[in-house]
Symmetry: C2
Subunit: 414 residues, 2 copies
């Protein structure tokens, strides 16, 4: 079944926020075998919303809307969709109770204008909202279905997982199965050239390459009559991909590198520590984004200044004064110091210039990654040919993860 | 002038990535006084792209496209746009040289299929790309203008800042000036009620409220014949807003809270340190996202385990065993310990349960924020009524920034 997503919100057209809701819903819909054909974004404007609703329903039978269910004057999605589907509004007592309870729980009185959220289209399937004040709903007419979600990503996800997702199952025709493989160490066009014999003229499973900063992913998808057939087709294709590109694949289940690293550390029952300079804790906070990271990380260090590297990590003053604070020697000494001081089993460190400005005459985008593991230690330089502070920091952080990943993978059967 | 943005890329419809390019371009276009009416997302499909091009040009005279300029088979945006505008393609020698040089610099040979990127529509204004391999371009016909950007956000930004932005200035009619105010400590609907007397029936300047997790922003915009008039109108309105909501405003220039905090620390010539448990370095890495953070942060601590809090920060074993590792007492002791150990002037700490699972029978979403400054120290509890690990971590981090902000603001004239 073909689907479209219409996001309503002037803030999206102002560029104050990116349309992450459409990404979330698209992922869910694809996973259920829907064909997402279009995303639309319109402002809080009745005429243009009506116009895009008609456009979306022209090519697709399922239209999901996000946003415009709030309590404020310019929240009009519910009213427009109801009008388009020819439905009156009614006051839903369950929502009235939910709202009252919500504001009691938050120890405040309900602002008058919130009562607006208690009205729903007659004949809709309501999705009551325990994560916020705006209920969602589904409305059908003449084989067309509209489902309206509130704008806040957290509430939208809650409503999808607690009602809307289940509601959508009635439309599932063919079963779709897909896997996303994640790769490091190869660029998108090299990857596509490498896999060309598999991609060329391939209809099902489909193989889509996608490049992210510092890595690539491969989406292998199949639509068949049964989930078993689809899964078998995907696994068969992945086996072929593995023969051609196996060395670059770090996850066969769309795990992020930090998830993979935490999993490997747990499997080997190892503790990790980090000593970060220019990344300022980005590595540790990304690692601890993974639930259960407390099993593998006890202590980590952010040593921004030279003094801090000396006092916190015991890096010798001489190393810094002779080799420089951004040097292979300092990076290695930071990793060794962190390992010793924390009593962890593996340590990774970074010292570098993130930019945006040149530092001590050094171009930004240069850093050294250090490591200590298994009685050995080392370091190497990484360089980016651009100057975007955030990107540099992110790139250095990814290289830290990649370093740990390769160290752990060395003595592991894949 | 009315504008639309068409993003081309199946990965967007698969939900593998959010449409941050549209957000970036929308912000830039609004700032220049363009009216962004629509965002569209279509897959790598010639017919549907043609269809959306026609749709976009129906209502708007300027259409920006992103994506589909890559070297791979399914990159077709350039060809479709050229065909729609009735232009042939030519081989651009400058791009050929750029490509050759790019791959030399990266120490590799150019994959054959990259040569595809050297073809441009006849009569276009090329935007040569020093940040990647795909050039952008602008193409005009019958008062309609199409501008095509590559998909990678970094390259798109580079091309906008180095050519496309300047090219767009020829279309600027009325001058627009706007400011985005950032607020903490008030919800969106309360804020709108508070400002209703200003918002009601207001045409220019316009006031738009927008809610983010943990904070709100206000966009005050005016379009006038001269930039001076527009700016004056905006400043006059902001003075009125200040009277009603001044206490909640932490930035009048759309600064993030971390930028404001770094600026205040610099102005007061203070050093900060942090001791993070459940946030695992998120505070420090967010603080050091701000260029020049090295002036205000020398050392920070990530103390995930109880042992680490004792060994690294000198928290008394007794405090942890009596009051618990997640307690007001531990949070305060962490802040004091970090301050003493680092020699900084102000310290902030957090210990809590980020989730997703209940920990030692405690519900996730509970944490204590500690602080030490000016010979005083304290702590307080924060609680979220949801259980999303990432969101909890983010919320705790924001509360740490808010704590520092309020401590620094106390003895500051606003």
């Amino acid at each position: 079944m073909k689907a479209s997503i219409i996001a309503v919100g002037t803030e999206l057209l102002f560029g104050q926020v990116a349309n992450t809701n459409a990404a979330y819903l698209s992922d869910k819909l694809n996973h259920m075998g829907f064909d997402v054909m279009y995303h639309f974004v319109v402002g809080d404007n009745p005429m243009r919303l009506k116009d895009k609703l008609a456009e979306a329903f022209k090519d697709t039978d399922l239209v999901l809307t996000t946003g415009g269910l709030g309590p404020t004057q310019d929240d009009l999605t519910k009213e427009i969709v109801a009008e388009y589907m020819g439905a009156e509004m009614y006051l839903d007592n369950r929502v009235v109770d939910d709202l009252t309870e919500f504001f009691n729980r938050h120890g405040g009185n309900m602002p008058e204008n919130n009562m607006k959220q208690a009205y729903l289209p007659v004949g809709c399937t309501p999705f009551y909202n325990a994560s916020g004040t705006a209920p969602g709903f589904a409305l059908q007419k003449d084989g067309k279905t509209a489902i309206c979600f509130p704008g806040p990503p957290r509430e939208l996800k809650w409503l999808f997982e607690n009602g809307a997702g289940q509601y959508l199952e009635q439309f599932m025709e063919k079963k779709m199965f897909y896997r996303v493989l994640r790769l490091i160490g190869i660029g998108e066009s090299d990857l596509e050239m490498l896999l060309m014999p598999l991609i060329d003229g391939q209809t099902d499973p489909t193989i889509a390459t996608y490049a992210k900063e510092g890595e690539c992913s491969l989406r292998v998808a199949s639509q068949r009559d049964t989930m078993e057939e689809a899964e078998a087709a995907v696994e068969e294709m992945i086996a072929k991909i593995d023969e051609l590109a196996g060395n670059y694949i770090y996850s066969y289940n769309n795990e992020d590198l930090n998830e993979v690293v935490v999993r490997m550390l747990k499997e080997k029952n190892l503790k990790i520590t980090s000593a970060e300079s220019c990344t300022g804790g980005l590595f540790a906070s990304t690692l601890t984004d993974v639930p259960g990271a407390s099993d593998v990380l006890s202590t980590a260090y952010i040593t921004y200044s030279s003094e801090s590297k000396i006092e916190e990590l015991g890096v010798w003053n001489e190393i810094i004064s002779c080799c420089g604070v951004v040097s292979a020697e300092t990076a290695e000494a930071m990793a060794k110091g962190a390992l010793e001081r924390s009593g962890a089993d593996i340590a990774v460190s970074v010292t570098g210039y993130a930019g945006p400005d040149a530092d001590e005459g050094h171009d930004p985008g240069e850093a050294f990654i250090g490591w200590a593991y298994n009685g050995e230690a080392g370091s190497y330089s990484v360089r980016t040919d651009r100057n975007f502070r955030k990107w540099n920091r992110n790139y250095f952080m990814l290289r830290m993860f990649r370093t740990v990943y390769l160290l752990l993978r060395q003595n592991t059967q894949k």
